[in-house]
């Protein structure tokens, strides 16, 4: 993707043209895709009218099934049907073992350090499984909206570390989806409710899904969403409600035996539907007849409340803890946003409302709210709202450090630092004659490296030997706007350098992704050549249009006659190349024009800052506020 679009920030060259972008909530249990149409953000249904896509992928004998089709086969074919793959994202084989025996899959490590699940279609990584889900959602969007998809905003939990974010981005790349931005789920939910333009203050996002609970405390200040604290329970959700209700039924029916797996499934289903009915009714009649189980009875709202109250209390405890971590009290919380299907349960809303002493926000479907917020942000990023002032600034959720002598983590970038950010720190050798240094990158708040998460290791080798403490090794951490890290090390006296994009430990290497992409292309019936040619032609058109617009605006001001001549020459070359049907030729001409414009672009970017800082006055700010 070599785009050369010299445009004003926040403006596209063709403002009349709506650029299609989607928001994707890639969830543990369900996933959704949403987009902004006629100024409304809405989730997109499949051909059966279902908005929620179960995050389930089955590697069948002939085809890969995703969603409802995969769910149907999950019971019969558990080892080839992958559920809750999000829990495995960015995890290495060693991490997966610590998940316990609960996992039904067989893992294989193979040549790559990435853990893979054994299926009948071969070993698949969590990234590949997620890519199947993303592909399904992408195809749904294309089928509904036409095929010019600019890109997607994909949501991730606020606590996702670098490896998990990288894995999510890799999955998108594998699904041939351009990621405009990774967005924190709680931030997306807040955006869906328009809180980014509202009053400044502390916002709590209470997210209770089927199997997970997350609480995030955010602070909105001057358009910056800061994640103050996150907490939760990765093994607590609405399914646990169903479980206690099912147990209650067994108890009521005085069923003494150990229920068979199929009976348990049936009772869970009945419990779930009873729970859902109690979101609107005061009581529900339940009648179950299966195998040797026969029972009929009534479950009232208050009875259910008694049953699930201990579980909800657990979530409230986590809220209390997160508030303390954030150093705010319940009264400081301005709004509480409810996310996740399980927040439809009335008892949950009541107890959450009681704890925060305010009515939680529930007007947007809690299953869809994250996708809706992501779609709104995607619309802004795609450039559809040139006048929009919205800018979400994110912070890094966990501190990034480096291992120093004694297995201690020296923090280089602290949590809650706004991103993107770069930070350098100098280190030295501890032995005489040392010519190499191992760099171990870790993430987490704890002092000991063993308690933090290991992200990457690499060596800086071949600097000249000297006495201990004489070498000066500058290690630089650069985190981009998506929270992804690049680390480089340089011995300053000799200029020896090494750097790493942090992903080899858990993510996929570039070559692995290339191979996977090529494999998937082979299967596609698309004519690759005509597709690439079309892409390059569109690209060329965009580049020329953008350049013309920029030249018109400030070309005379920023360029000498000679420079203008060079650019115009390269532009002419590209216009001619575009007419040919050789995509490589067009690509080369784009590159050439890019190079010719390099200085010009740099100057424009600099004048950009100057303009932002020019002519400040109190009146100006007052005027802006009134808009």
């Amino acid at each position: 993707m070599a785009l050369l679009q010299i445009s004003e920030p926040g403006q596209t060259t063709a403002p009349h043209q709506h650029r299609l972008a989607v928001g994707i909530d890639l969830g543990t249990t369900n996933s959704l895709v949403a987009t902004v149409r006629s100024a409304q953000a809405q989730t997109l249904p499949d051909e059966n009218g279902h908005h929620l896509l179960p995050s389930v992928v089955r590697y069948g004998e002939e085809v890969i099934e995703v969603g409802d089709a995969a769910v149907e086969h999950a019971v019969k074919d558990p080892s080839n049907t992958i559920v809750s793959v999000k829990r495995l994202m960015g995890r290495a084989a060693a991490d997966l073992k610590s998940l316990g025996e609960s996992s039904p899959y067989e893992f294989s490590t193979g040549d790559s350090s990435v853990a893979k699940i054994k299926t009948r279609s071969g070993d698949v990584s969590a990234v590949e499984v997620s890519a199947e889900i993303l592909k399904t959602l992408k195809n749904r969007a294309i089928a509904t909206l036409g095929d010019d998809l600019v890109g997607a905003v994909i949501t991730v939990p606020a606590y996702f570390d670098d490896a998990q974010r990288q894995a999510t981005k890799d999955a998108a790349r594998l699904a041939d989806l351009n990621v405009l931005r990774l967005l924190n789920e709680p931030t997306a939910a807040a955006v869906a409710y328009g809180l980014d333009t509202g009053q400044e203050g502390v916002i709590a996002i209470y997210d209770l899904g089927g199997g997970t609970f997350d609480i995030s405390i955010l602070r909105l200040k001057q358009g910056v969403f800061e994640v103050l604290a996150t907490g939760g329970d990765s093994a607590l959700g609405g399914d646990d409600f169903d479980h206690v209700i099912a147990e209650w039924m067994l108890q009521q029916a005085a069923y003494k035996k150990t229920p068979s797996p199929s009976l348990v499934r049936l009772l869970m289903r009945e419990a779930r539907s009873a729970k859902e009915q109690l979101a609107s009714d005061n009581e529900v009649n339940i009648k179950v007849e299966a195998e040797d189980f026969k029972w009929q009875g009534v479950l009232s709202l208050s009875q259910m409340r008694d049953l699930i109250e201990p579980l909800i209390k657990k979530t409230i405890m986590a809220c209390r803890r997160s508030l303390r971590d954030a150093d705010v009290s319940a009264e400081d919380v301005l709004e509480v946003v409810m996310v996740g299907g399980s927040t439809r349960t009335l008892a949950v809303r009541e107890m959450v409302g009681e704890f925060f002493q305010r009515e939680p926000l529930v007007s947007i479907d809690p299953d869809k709210v994250v996708a809706v917020g992501a779609a709104l942000q995607a619309d802004v990023l795609a450039g559809n709202k040139p006048g929009d002032e919205m800018l979400l600034l994110d912070v890094i959720p966990l501190s990034l450090g480096i291992e120093t002598m004694g297995g201690l983590s020296e923090k280089i970038i602290y949590r809650n630092t706004p991103i993107p950010v770069a930070k350098a720190q100098d280190f030295t050798t501890y032995k005489d004659g040392q010519t190499a240094m191992a760099v171990h990158v870790v993430q987490g708040e704890r002092e000991l490296v063993d308690d933090c998460r290991s992200l990457a290791r690499f060596d800086l080798r071949g600097f000249p030997p000297s006495v201990a403490g004489a070498a000066r090794i500058r290690v630089t951490y650069q985190v981009d706007a998506d929270g992804l890290l690049t680390v480089s090390a340089r011995e300053e006296n000799s200029g020896v350098e090494a750097s790493v994009d942090v992903k080899p430990s858990y993510g996929l290497t570039d070559s692995e992704i290339e191979t996977m992409l090529r494999d998937s292309m082979d299967h596609a019936s698309d004519d690759m050549h005509s597709r690439m040619l079309r892409e390059q032609q569109v690209e060329a058109e965009r580049v020329v249009e953008a350049l013309d617009a920029a030249l018109k605006k400030d070309g005379d001001e920023l360029l000498s006659e000679e420079e203008k001549g060079n650019i115009s020459e390269a532009r002419e070359l590209l216009v001619n190349a575009k007419a040919s049907d050789d995509s490589e030729n067009i690509k080369a001409a784009i590159k050439k024009l890019e190079n010719a414009c390099a200085d010009y672009v740099a100057r424009r970017m600099n004048s950009n800052i100057r303009n932002a800082m020019q002519g400040h006055s109190v009146e100006e700010y007052a005027g802006k506020d009134q808009e």
Binding site: S7, L391, L393, A481, V601, A602, I609
Partner: protein, 181 residues
Amino acid sequence: MTTDILSSNFFALFDVPVSYDVDLDLVQQRYRDLQKAVHPDKFVNASDQEKRISMQQTSRINEAFNALRQPVDRAIYLLSLKGVDLNLENETTMDAVFLMGQMEMREALSEIHSADDPLAELDDFSRQIKDKMKSMMDGFSQALESDRLDDAREWVRKMQFMQKAKKEVDELSAKIEDELY
């Protein structure tokens, strides 16, 4: 061409006077304006070169913002502008009374477990630390204004001690809460 703005000092970048008593509201406002001009989200559809420059500019602005808004970081940065490097090992000996106070505090913290209401006492510690920090900031500001750089440096060292103490108090609170619930 020039990258003068990015290599200029943090105060100049934010167009605020070089002083410890910086107007934090104004810094916030300028931060927001700068971000609107340079943030990568404004260059999603731009060329790789623009994306790269946008990231460098934003990183620099974030670095400056962090240094300006945190009391200890701001102090360290101001000293560095005066050519004083805090990382140098040749430390002057610190105020004995201050060190004494620190030791007493550590001792009190280590015994807090057996207190009747440890959380309340820890809250009390937090408040004390906050107050002390406030007066240290004043001390630093005055020392810097009158160019007593050794004094200013000592104030920073004390602030760093307090910052560390605050972290310990917070961690201890979390630990005791875990035990209670």
